[in-house]
């Protein structure tokens, strides 16, 4: 009846599924009703043995389609446990889809962008492979996927700050003084999660405070206000690929980029672009829950001996992005990214060849997205 009335929305479908009735499930299967919102998790494989990572996440991930992208520089074979619905992409696959000259952009942490490129789902959730499910203040395991989906499927409120944080969460609402015209909010395009245990600190901070672990579970999700920039970490994020897919991009690569998160800035750079684009197009960005438990690894002091490139870079990058203003004509995400690339080239290109390369990478990415990213058929594994 619901189908005939044309009223089968995702929410209604979820209600049917929640009844747990067998007849409902078999009907759904028989009619081949697809839930378009199934998230994809391109978990980048930076270490070959994914067994413990995937087993820890099994109860949460096994419902979804996984995309595993192997760092093209990783030589060893991947070890992946059974029982998941997944596609694995390795160097030969990447070469086949984008060509051997282009596949270099996907090395290291940037391999995740290949997953974003080839996915055909509406939502993407992306988690580093050194992160495990966290427990909340009550000791209950956090379903990071479910929380990201909630964040992405409820409105964001970037134009006025709500002091009780997310007004759409249960038990909360807009406070006195919040204009009614702003209470419907806007679409949330990006959900940035946080990390317990090893927080996403840079090398100097970790070297200075080697024992510091984040044990504070902050029970909140909030919208990052419009025109406010922040460091968007790639360790635990989710986004609406249909809305801002092209804006998450591999472009800035440090000269000394390494295999630990604090030796990279690619996600921070990409995150600045995404925020600027979201602000321009009127989409929201949320931050806060869900938390993941991030494991210790690496030696921050050893990383300090490398250049402080990334740290120094932010002194330029932040004021630059704060000053970027996109034109009224930029109405699509691709157009916005192309415009940002242009401004990067003009204003930063001469300061450091790294920026000039980043600008070119952004332009190339938009082209790649248009040819590979938005084709209707899957390129196949």
């Amino acid at each position: 009846r619901t189908l005939r009335a044309g009223k089968l929305t995702e929410r209604v479908l979820k209600l049917f599924i929640a009844t747990g009735k067998d007849e409902v499930f078999s009907l759904i299967q028989a009619l081949n009703i697809q839930v378009t919102v199934t998230p994809v998790l391109p978990t980048r494989a930076l270490r070959p043995d994914l067994t413990s990572f995937m087993n820890e996440w099994r109860t949460i991930f096994s419902r979804f389609h996984l995309i595993i992208v192997k760092d093209p520089d990783l030589k060893e074979e991947l070890k992946i446990p059974e029982g998941f619905n997944l596609d694995v992409y390795k160097k030969p696959d990447i070469d086949r889809v984008v060509g051997t000259s282009t596949s270099t952009i996907f090395s290291g942490y940037s391999c995740r962008y290949f997953g974003y490129l080839v996915s055909r789902k509406k939502y993407i959730i992306s988690v580093d492979d050194d992160c495990y499910p966290a427990k909340d203040n009550k000791g209950i395991l956090v379903d990071a996927v479910a929380q990201h989906i909630t964040n992405l499927t409820t409105p964001a409120t970037p134009f006025f700050f709500n002091t009780l944080y997310d007004p759409f969460t249960e038990g909360a609402d807009f406070v006195r003084g919040y204009p009614f015209s702003l209470r419907s909010g806007v679409q949330c395009a990006l959900s940035c999660g946080l990390w317990l245990n090893l927080a996403d600190y840079d090398a100097p901070t970790q070297a200075l405070k080697p024992e510091e672990r984040n044990s504070r579970y902050v029970d909140a999700v909030l919208t990052v206000p419009a025109r406010t920039l922040m460091p968007i970490s790639g360790i635990n994020i989710a986004f609406n690929r249909e809305v801002i897919g092209p804006a998450l991009l591999p472009s800035l690569r440090l000269g000394g980029e390494g295999k630990f998160r604090w030796e990279t800035m690619e996600d921070i750079w990409s995150g600045m672009c995404v925020k600027v684009v979201c602000d321009h197009l009127g989409h929201g960005v949320k931050t806060g829950m869900p938390y993941v438990w991030r494991n210790d690894r690496g030696d921050a002091i050893a990383s300090l001996r490398k250049e402080w490139e990334g740290v120094k870079l932010m002194e330029e990058v932040v004021p630059f992005f704060q000053s970027v203003r996109l034109s009224r004509e930029a109405k699509t995400t691709e157009d916005c990214v192309a415009e940002v690339a242009n401004v990067v080239k003009e204003q930063l290109g001469s300061k450091d060849p790294m920026f000039a390369r980043a600008a070119k990478a952004m332009v190339d990415w938009v082209k790649l997205w248009k040819s590979v990213g938005s084709s209707t058929s899957s390129p196949g594994a």
Binding site: F160, T163, L164, D173, V175, R176, R216, D219, P231
Partner: protein, 363 residues
């Protein structure tokens, strides 16, 4: 389920930070029984009680508190004709307390706010947390995803520029409420049973350029940095609007803080808000505000202060001018309000004659 802390008498003796530099301003029309519960945390401090309503009524202050009390007669006597800017029959009258205080910091709290408990069951010393917030820097220019980086156990995240890690002085600390949340009348009517039971263990700086609804129930500020901006407007008796006093002060304060490079924090501490005011009464007070805020918010969002406004008073006078120019057409009330804003500054400067102190840098 949120409950107030009841065993505060047993609370460990507190080191009263800023004992001689902070006044607690409390507006009241009923009684001050709630102070008993706050005694271990408040007793070391000086109180300024602003008695609203009938001045012939005697408000009993619990024994052992050091206080000064002002009723309407005192306000009229001290300010003379300028007393017209201080509201009557509305808690907005509390800003008179800010004006007469001689201290550097102010903490203001409503008389239906009690001590809350944190998730471990411990009584929260809200004043102590406000002081910590005010004494540590704010970070309005770039958002830190781990919230206040100056709190123990936190820091700036990767990607946060080092040049911004010193932060700026904190002008105001906005606390929150467990139990009865600060909802407007329509929300109260739709959700009369909703209680805030979520303890969010965070303090964060509200980014530059972002406005917020500032609630006056649980608020502290640096009077030297931002005092003159904390005018709570014309509300209550004889006015077309109520329950927008703190909102108005908050919008003015935030615009001025953004201009002068000062920070505003929100989040901890929580207090336990016990009394839900009558939503029908609230609706009658607020309803004009609900329409007007649609015009007021864009006004504040677009307000630009000239570079030569280098003091709070100058900023405020300029804002008053812009209110008169741009908001009078919404309602003649704003014309009166703009005049009252100027009167307030005149009265402030009269009572605080050290002259304008340069506050921060003009943006």
């Amino acid at each position: 389920m949120a409950e107030p802390a009841t065993e505060t008498q047993a609370a460990a003796p507190v080191v009263a930070l800023l004992k001689n530099e902070l006044d607690i301003v409390i507006p009241t029309i009923r009684n001050l029984d709630f102070l008993e519960m706050w005694r271990p945390f408040f007793q070391p401090y000086h109180l300024i009680i602003v008695q609203d309503g009938d001045p012939s009524k005697t408000i009993k202050v619990p024994e052992g508190f050091d206080y000064e009390l002002y009723n309407r007669n005192d306000i009229n006597r001290i300010l003379g004709p300028k007393a017209s800017c201080i509201s009557f029959k509305d808690s907005a009258c509390r800003c008179f307390g800010y004006m007469v205080s001689k201290k550097k910091y102010i903490f203001t709290i409503d008389d239906d706010c009690f001590v809350a408990k944190d998730p471990s069951g411990k009584a929260i010393n809200a004043l102590e947390q406000h002081i910590k917030n005010l004494l540590s820097p704010s970070t309005p220019f770039f958002f830190n995803t781990l919230y206040d980086p100056f709190r123990e156990g936190a820091d700036f995240v990767r990607g946060y520029p080092f040049s911004l890690r010193e932060g700026v002085p904190t002008a105001a600390s906005h606390g929150l409420w467990l139990n009865i949340p600060d909802y407007d009348a329509p929300t109260q009517l739709v959700k009369p049973l909703e209680r805030n039971t979520r303890y969010v263990d965070a303090v964060l700086t509200i980014p530059k350029g972002t406005l917020f609804p500032m609630c006056g129930m649980n608020l502290a500020f640096n009077r030297e940095l931002i005092g003159p901006a904390m005018y709570f407007g014309l509300m209550g008796d004889g006015q077309p609007i109520g329950r927008y006093d703190d909102m108005w002060a908050g919008w003015c304060t935030k615009v001025i803080c953004d201009h002068l490079g000062l920070g505003v924090k929100t989040g901890l501490p929580y207090i336990f808000h016990s009394k839900a005011s009558n939503p029908f009464v609230n609706l009658r007070k607020e309803y004009k505000g609900i329409y007007w805020q649609e015009e007021i918010i864009p006004f504040f969002q677009q307000a630009v202060l000239p570079k030569d406004c280098t003091t709070v008073q100058k900023c405020y006078i300029e804002l008053a001018k812009q209110v008169k120019e741009k908001l009078s057409k919404v309602d003649p009330y704003f014309d009166k309000l703009a005049d009252a804003m100027v009167t307030w500054i005149e009265a402030w400067d009269e009572l605080n004659p050290t002259g304008p102190v340069p506050n921060g840098k003009a943006a």
